[in-house]
Structure formats: structure tokens, C-alpha cells
Symmetry: C2
């Protein structure tokens, strides 16, 4: 019984020593507790972390990269460097290849997600990152534009303040680290529910994930994601969709979408990417979270 309880707890506790993919909604705290960035460093190996920062999305790679270098060094990472890939050709550079083969963490900064994809997509550097992430050798984090590129389909831009419609969202192809999802960031902060719903209506075989600022969805390799940070992670799940007019209407006509499932997750809540189950945080509402642990003891 004690064993089962221990197993339950372990299942629900962040696995600080294992790699993960951290999808950050932008504007993560860099001044106070810096919990999200600390989580990244911890999951990349803590005092043994070798972190490469990829600021390719940004127009000011030296400034933005320099800031993250100082932050990660302050947090005790062993080695931190910037891989300022500006051109696709650089992705075949042996030095860049060596960095990506040896690092334990890759951090994709904010900026323009189209630029980031334009530089990295279908390059040897990209293949190497993906392969090492899948093998559990590398912790990957992306914030803002760096978060947007995580899915196979990517939101490249769009609007708000409108009824969901096809012209409310511009889609492109992302880097596909977590191909199942369509990520939107700065989510409630910039009122992006309408554009995420529009994106999911067009791609109902994917899962919509809207991440607020200073908030992170930590994707574990077993399919669970867990929320860290001060806002919410919104899940728009079309598994039970019964109807949408999406392909049949013109770009400005209102979309209809019937039977979406919607979860607003906050700190510590967990969601399983494949089972599509949701678990409330243990430590916030012990009455819920502990219930089945208590039942078996």
C-alpha cells in the first residue's frame, strides 16, 4: 500500500532529473523568483547543465542572448553559450553541430516565429535537436516565438476581437517538436482564444494549447504536461468534435465548431497529451489530489 502511494506521488511530482520540453507563453519572470527559467536549468542538468541559447527568432540576438546567458549562469549552469544562427548554411557548421551534440539544454528565444522556422526548418542542426530531445538527452525550452514553433502546424499571426473565422489566424509550418499540438502564447493576455479556436477548427486532428505570459507547460516524455508559472494553460481539445463548417465557408464568415472540450489549467495541474485526461494539482487542493492515494492506504 505504501508502495502504491509512493508510486502515485512520484507520478505526480516533477521529475527534476529528467529531460523535458518547456513551452513558455512569453514574458517569463527574469527578475524575481524566475521559477520557469530555474526549472529549465534544473531539467537541463542544474550544475552540470550545458545550455545553448538560439536567438534566431530575434532581431537583437546579442542583447537578448546576453541577458539569458547572465541569467542561466547566475542559476549555476556549468556552461552557457549563444548559437546565433542567422543563415541556413550555418546549420551545417561543424562547431554548431558539436555544440548541439554535447549540450544538455537548448533555449529558443522570442522574436518572429517565421524567421526562426525559416532558418532552422529541415536543417541538420534541427534534426540533431529533435533527435536528442526524443532520445531524452536534451531539455528544450522555447518562449513566445520559440514556443509557437513547437507544433507541426504553427500560428504565424492573427487578430483578436472577432468572431472565430478563417482570416483571424495565419497558419504556417512549425518545427514539429511536439507535432500533436498547436501552440498559442501571450494567450489570455492578448485575447487569443478566438484565433486558437479558428486554428483548431482548421486542424481538428491537433490539440490547441494556449499559454499565458510567465506561464509554462512542461511536457514530460511520458505524455503528461504540467503547468508552472503565474497564469493558465488553456487546452482546446477537438477529440469529440461533431461538426465544423471550417472548410466550407469563406475566409471572413463566422466559423461554427460543436463539441470542443475546454480546460483552463493553473499551477500544478496536469494533462495527458494522448489519454486526454486532466489531473488537478495535488498541493493546491489536497482534498481532490490526494483522494485516490488515501483510498489505497
Amino acid at each position: 500500500m505504501q508502495q502504491l502511494k509512493a508510486k502515485t506521488l512520484e507520478m505526480r511530482t516533477p521529475q527534476a532529473t529528467k529531460t523535458a520540453v518547456l513551452v513558455i507563453g512569453g514574458a517569463e519572470d527574469k527578475v524575481h523568483g524566475r521559477e520557469i527559467l530555474r526549472t529549465f536549468v534544473a531539467r537541463a542538468g542544474a550544475s552540470k547543465a550545458y545550455i545553448t541559447i538560439v536567438p534566431s527568432a530575434s532581431r537583437e540576438p546579442a542583447i537578448i542572448g546576453g541577458r539569458y546567458i547572465r541569467l542561466f549562469e547566475e542559476m549555476g549552469a556549468q556552461k552557457v553559450e549563444i548559437l546565433d544562427i542567422r543563415e541556413r548554411e550555418q546549420c551545417e557548421n561543424p562547431q554548431i553541430k558539436a555544440s548541439l551534440e554535447n549540450c544538455t539544454g537548448v533555449f529558443l528565444t522570442g522574436g518572429d516565429q517565421l524567421r526562426l522556422c525559416g532558418v532552422l526548418a529541415d536543417t541538420p542542426a534541427m534534426d540533431l535537436i529533435r533527435q536528442r530531445v526524443r532520445a531524452g538527452q536534451l531539455t528544450l525550452a522555447g518562449t513566445s516565438a520559440g514556443a509557437a514553433v513547437m507544433g507541426h502546424h504553427m500560428i504565424a499571426g492573427g487578430g483578436s476581437g472577432e468572431t472565430p473565422n478563417r482570416s483571424l489566424v495565419d497558419m504556417a509550418t512549425g518545427l514539429g517538436f511536439i507535432p500533436e499540438v498547436i501552440v498559442d502564447q501571450h494567450f489570455h493576455n492578448r485575447n487569443r482564444m478566438g484565433r486558437l479556436i479558428s486554428a483548431i477548427a482548421a486542424h481538428p486532428d491537433r490539440l490547441g494549447i494556449g499559454i499565458d505570459e510567465d506561464t509554462c507547460a512542461v511536457f514530460e516524455r511520458d505524455g503528461w504536461l504540467q503547468v508552472v508559472g503565474k497564469g493558465s494553460v488553456t487546452i482546446v481539445d477537438p477529440t469529440e468534435l461533431t461538426h465544423t463548417n471550417e472548410p466550407h465557408v469563406s475566409a471572413n464568415e463566422p466559423l461554427n465548431v460543436h463539441n470542443l472540450r475546454l480546460h483552463i489549467l493553473s499551477y500544478g495541474d496536469r494533462f495527458h497529451l494522448y489519454q486526454r485526461t486532466v489531473l488537478p494539482a495535488v498541493h493546491r487542493l489536497p482534498s481532490y489530489g490526494d483522494s485516490y492515494g488515501d483510498n489505497v492506504s
Copy 2:
């Protein structure tokens, strides 16, 4: 078989001669097709309609009331008048009582929903309207503030651009014509998904209904609502809710809400208030809508 098909069609066709409650998201078209206002006049009796306009929510009752008088007269209503109730005492006035006993349509204008409730709630005039609406003797319409008052719980104000939280929405008591719902209006236009979700987290025994501008949910007496107009009607259904931290967190902390069902309905789509079922519009996508009619013939 023909009979069954006819019954199916009848069930799905607006019943122009029967009374209804029209909940309008504000800014309804007053210049071009004016479909929503025409639907109201038709459902109030068309050329036999006797319409009373209640502009109590507005600070400019004569201007706003005068505009609707001209519109409804142009549309062929037999009699149109303004009941400019400014004080609760007026609600016992025999002339106002006589109007509300004899009219076939009541139209609640926009303005301030708290003002409208302050004047009308728990008055004989209010009781009379509610009683005649329930008896199917009166078609009721409300736009903007006039829509907000429809539920028992009412959204009195709130914000956007934030993670759902308790301080994002101010709740008050509405007029309760359709007590089961919490209505929000100017919905996608003013990015109000977050505040409606916050309201539903606090009242998960209700149904959230967000109505876009120039859009109307026509509630039939049999429990079906149907969408008319150019935007969408959003349904936030907490029937299957498994968890919310709503009563346990402080006002500014992010809410979590697990397992909401979400429908974005567009023109002609129908939703049943009690069965919680959704039907796509017949005339927009015959392949879906006609399917079970075809099966029986």
C-alpha cells in the same frame, strides 16, 4: 415516412407565429437587412404586433426609444410605444400595467444593466412581463444591457486580457427570464471569453452564453435556441465539470476549470437548453443537417 420528415423539418424551422425570447449581443443591424429586429417584429405578431419599448437601461431613453419606434413602425408593427420607466414607483402605474397586459412584444434596449435591474426587479411590471412570457403571450427581446439581464445571475461588468480569475468579472442578480443562463454580450468583439469562463466557474450550475454583436439567440419555449445574425453564439457548458479551484483561491489568482464543453454556433445552428444537444444549421450544410431526414424517407 413523409410525415416524419415533415415533423423533422418543422422542428428545425423557426416558428414565425410563436412567441420567443430574443437575446441580442448588441449593435444589431438597424440599417441594412435588419434581420434580427425583423425577426422580433415577426415573432411579436407582425402586422398585428403591439410593441412596447423599455429604454430604462439608457441615459438617453427618448433618443434610443425614438429610433426603435421608427424601425418597428417601418417594419409594419400595428402599434409601438415607449414605456419610459425611470423609477420603481412607475411600475405600479395602471397605464403601464395596461400596456404590459395588452402588448405582444417587449423590447429592452441597451445601456446599463444594473440600472435596468434596479428599476424593474421585483416590481409588478416585471412580474407581469415574466408571467406573460412564460405563458407564451409575449415575445421578449433584449439587446446589450437588455440581453445581460436575462439570466438569474448577471454579468454587471468586468475586464479582458487576463487569465480567468474571480476579479475579472462582477456579478449581480439579473431579471431571471431564462434563469438557467449567464449571458455575456459584445462577446468576441470585446474579448469576453475569459470573463464568461470566470462567471461559469463561480456558478457551474448555469450555462454560459456569449453573444456577438449583430447576433441573436432566439430561445423557443420548447428549450431550443437558434442563432440569427452575422456573428456567433458561444456556449460554455459546465455539465461535465470535474474540478475548479473557484471558491478556494483569492480574487486575483488564476482559476482552473476542467472539462468544460464549448460550442461556437453560427447562423441557423441550434442548441437545446435542457438536453444540451447541438444541431448544425440545415440550410448551410445540407449534408449534415438533412442526414436523418433522408434516412427515414
